[in-house]
Symmetry: C2
Subunit: 576 residues, 2 copies
């Protein structure tokens, strides 16, 4: 491709409205443009990478035995009413009416449509298992779309759905898809991890997320340094401390802590570590049918630990969805402001995180505004409580797998696989005749990859101050051909044209920068776009029948003789 | 692909709700399923063909220098308000609001979005010309979706838009796209014609449609047998008759024609040919600013000719859009019912088609219910009238190109290219600095292909009583491997498995029908799906180390030795 005949659309300046580096670089490198909130046009450079990601995803799924289908983006409301999600989902599910005032949605996902298809087309166990996928545009009316294509409203997704008669059979396909996902992200050239995950609103039990590791990632992932255990921090179990709780040594004592509401403020004021403090949160309690129980429960954590909301929400005493008491409710319960509350003398159930339960002679709020207690001890001062895993794991925690300790890194979720079970097949009565001739409800798996999001995640992981550093497999072009001052030199022009012919004839995707621009502008653009291999043609080197080769990622430069360029590129450009 | 691990979904019975053969066959062959009115899921067999069509379209556009982009399906209303189409388009443009009550549309086409993109990204003549395309899902809320994917609401389209500073430059790209379209339909293996067309609501002047020829086509196309002239019948000019009008020979005479209202009834009653009758229609007249002119004009055609509404609407005396007088209005104008009206003595302007104007001693309505005139003559009986081309051409007419006569065939429109001019660029103020440093509004072309519709059109053209007959290039599979009673014969199974390995290793796409089905069921399914090359493995032939080859289109059968199968297939299967 000659850049003079291409829509390069690079930008020198950093766009003001882009919050994350991938968004900035995708705008600056001419990959996307915003049409409206959460809606992006892919420019030619963006489409080239998008199609490469799409192709790798398709090839690996085909290899895994998944079969491609294509479902409509516009879906009739009846199916969503049948599954219950018409009611359950909030405004993220975009609903509209057609010209005949019939209700439709723009599909955010396709469990309903595929389950409806399968219950019509598959009637016998002989047709199972089946694993169907599509690569298709989705729409989710996010409340706050942001970070460019990372969290857009319209986006390209690969979604797959598998159908089985048994959990064993589902597990087999799940394992095959796990491997296919690993193959995909490996081929894409990304540093990724598969991690145990919460299956959330989609439903089901077992699930894994695939994360591209990047310091800017929204998710925290816990890894064992002694095994291949990895889990989303949401899911990683915090083991109870091994050592036994020390016996009480101090007497309970009330101290004045004016203006010290946070753990850090109290720690500073009392000259103690946050690890000696117990902090207390109030959340709404799960109610029995008569709603006779307490309205709230107290959750107690060690001062340096963070509440894990997924774990808290799963506790049987805690109402779903998790809902915190308001300041007024806290005052009504305890008589104190939230910064001065604690577990001593509370009239409601107290659930203590294992690590907080291991404290002795700890500090906590006195349930009197501006006062804390020191020398507090479980059992002696809080006779009734239960313990649970309520916190996020932290670096250095023992790994729940039993081997090694945990490290925390950040990741961007680009894939998610779920064992759905019968959530949709039961609601929509999708069954087949089994070997005994009886109707049996299907067991399902579902498997998603954010195709367009992968581009942003790849950039978050692969960039420097000059721009994007694409892995070879998904670079918009493999080679940038940069002739210096070509429009003033016939010799440069001839060499450039000849190399362009040779390289394209050899099957390389070459961006030939034939614009009338200063070399500095061309270098900067090619670095910004992140083309992995660059060939610079200049007068001086040409005197020796040479050109300069530069590797974008390593910065390594070398001189190549003109005759050797194609062979060198064949050796250096990674086959996709 | 093994059919046991595939979603074949063939149907024996003709589906009740399918009106056209392609829709029936796409349902029966397991290519698509209806989700809701005008919304279809593509099953695996459908997707395989769809992706092949898509690939050929993409490759040929890339070769033609068009550059791929991808625009959102969801578009903000502001752009449509700016172009004026928010008001102009009817309910076919699906409008909806997002969670913040902002107006959006589901894109039926992308002139607005691309024009907005270009006015932002392209600022200098140096960046032109540009030709951008996308292959993307469109939505049109058709009043009456029908014929399966032929006229669906959601469909896959390739749309391209080119931008220029001059008509000459547009013409060059238009010619390149015309050639690219010809290459695409040739590679798809379809019998097609490019025809002159009306540019209709999209706007612009020159346009060509690409039609797949099929007797079931909705459009009539006129071809010259003496040149390469071809035009949509809407557009084909009917030349005035060469011979001069005969002098009046009969006197005007009123005859009673009770119950004879149609041309055929009058012809039968009076024992004359429809070619001797003049029929008269009344349409609303174009009004001047004061609306002082006549409210209607009369259009007169020869009895055997059909009014061409596109031509009539373009006549300066006729109001746009074309609107016929009601029966009551006809009675008020003439005193007679519409079956008894004629040009003699009318108080409004009379426009006579050239062929009707060549009549002498003709029959027409007497403007008195139940009566006609015989021996009518222009000038003598209708002193004032004008002539125009108002009719559809018919087979045998002289070709407007001056060479040969016209033949009429039917076609299905699968592509349309337009010279748009400045319709959108003017409305949206899309200009660049030209070589003189002055702002100049861009000139545009646009180019569409109905990717999903091509599948239906290909079937309308290529089928027989057994099912689809795919051209090799877009067949879902190239080869069907049909082992007879494999599950009872280890020898058949071994031969089938070996051939399957050999053929797939050689790069062929093989559907290996390994189901436990009777041979008759398997043959019928493979014929129905339309796989072009079939290999049948049976006991008797295997005794001779042979298999039977069958060519789907010709029905030709031959015996191949096992060793020769791969080489024979390499010779017979057309490279794509």
């Amino acid at each position: 491709m000659r850049s003079s005949q291409y829509l390069l659309s690079t930008m020198k300046e950093n766009p003001a409205d882009a919050e994350v580096i991938s968004h900035k670089l995708m705008l600056r490198a001419g990959m996307v443009r915003r049409l409206a909130s959460g809606l992006y046009t892919y420019l030619p450079t963006g489409v080239r990478t998008l199609r490469k990601v799409e192709r790798i995803v398709r090839e690996e799924l085909d290899k895994a035995g998944a079969i491609e289908v294509l479902m409509p983006m516009v879906q009739n409301a009846e199916l969503w009413q049948e599954s219950g999600r018409w009611e359950q989902m909030d405004a993220e599910l975009l609903r509209f009416q057609d010209r005949h005032q019939r209700d439709f949605v723009l599909g955010p996902t396709h469990e309903e449509v595929i389950t409806d298809l399968i219950r019509r087309e598959v009637t016998s166990y002989k047709q199972l298992p089946l694993n169907l996928y599509q690569i298709q545009t989705k729409f989710r009316d996010e409340r706050r779309p942001r970070f460019g294509v990372m969290r857009a409203r319209e986006f390209l997704m690969k979604d797959a759905y598998s159908f089985h008669l048994s959990q064993d059979c589902l597990q087999k396909t799940y394992d095959v898809m796990y491997q296919a996902y690993s193959n995909i992200f490996t081929r894409l050239g990304l540093d990724f991890r598969a991690v145990l995950a919460d299956s959330g609103a989609i439903g089901g039990s077992v699930s894994h997320e695939f994360h591209v590791l990047a310091s800017s990632g929204e998710d925290a992932i816990a890894f064992s340094n002694g095994s291949d255990y990895a889990a989303n921090v949401e899911m990683a179990a915090a083991l109870p401390p091994q050592s036994e709780r020390a016996a009480p040594a101090e007497a309970l004592n009330k101290v004045s802590t004016p203006n010290a509401a946070s753990v850090d403020e109290v720690a500073t004021l009392l000259a103690i570590e946050p690890t000696s403090i117990a902090k207390t949160l109030f959340v709404r309690a799960e109610q029995d049918a008569e709603a006779t129980g307490p309205a709230f429960v107290a959750l107690v954590l060690r001062g340096d630990h963070q509440l894990n909301e997924v774990k808290a929400e799963k506790h049987p005493r805690v109402a779903q969805p998790l809902s915190f008491a308001t300041e007024a409710e806290v005052q009504q319960l305890t008589g104190a402001l939230p910064g001065s509350v604690g577990p001593v003398g509370l009239p409601i159930p107290v659930i203590v995180d294992h690590s907080a339960a291991a404290l002795a002679d700890f500090v906590c709020g006195a349930n009197e505004t501006g006062f804390h207690l020191t020398g507090a001890n479980w059992l002696r001062d809080v006779p009734e409580f239960e313990t649970a895993d309520l916190r996020n794991v932290v670096s250095g925690d023992a790994s729940p797998c039993g081997q090694g300790t945990l490290e925390i890194r950040r990741g961007i979720e680009v894939g998610h696989i779920f064992q759905l079970g019968d959530k949709y097949s039961q609601a929509m009565k999708a069954g087949v005749l089994n070997e005994d001739g009886k109707n049996q409800i299907l067991t399902m798996g579902c498997y998603g990859i954010g195709v367009s999001r992968i581009m942003a995640a790849a950039i978050e992981q692969n960039h420097d101050e000059h721009g994007i550093i694409w892995p070879d497999a998904i670079a918009p072009f493999q080679i940038a051909l940069i002739p210096m001052n070509m429009h003033k030199s016939v010799r440069i022009q001839q060499a450039a044209e000849q190399l362009y012919q040779q390289l394209t004839a050899a099957g390389f995707e070459v961006l030939f920068d034939d614009r009338k621009e200063r070399p500095g502008v061309m270098f900067a653009d090619m670095e910004l776009i992140g083309i992995p291999h660059q060939i610079v043609i200049g007068e001086r080197n040409l005197d020796q029948q040479q050109v300069e080769y530069k590797h974008r990622r390593s910065g390594e430069k070398s001189l190549l003789t003109l005759d050797a360029v194609v062979a060198e590129m064949q050796a250096r450009v990674q086959a996709v």
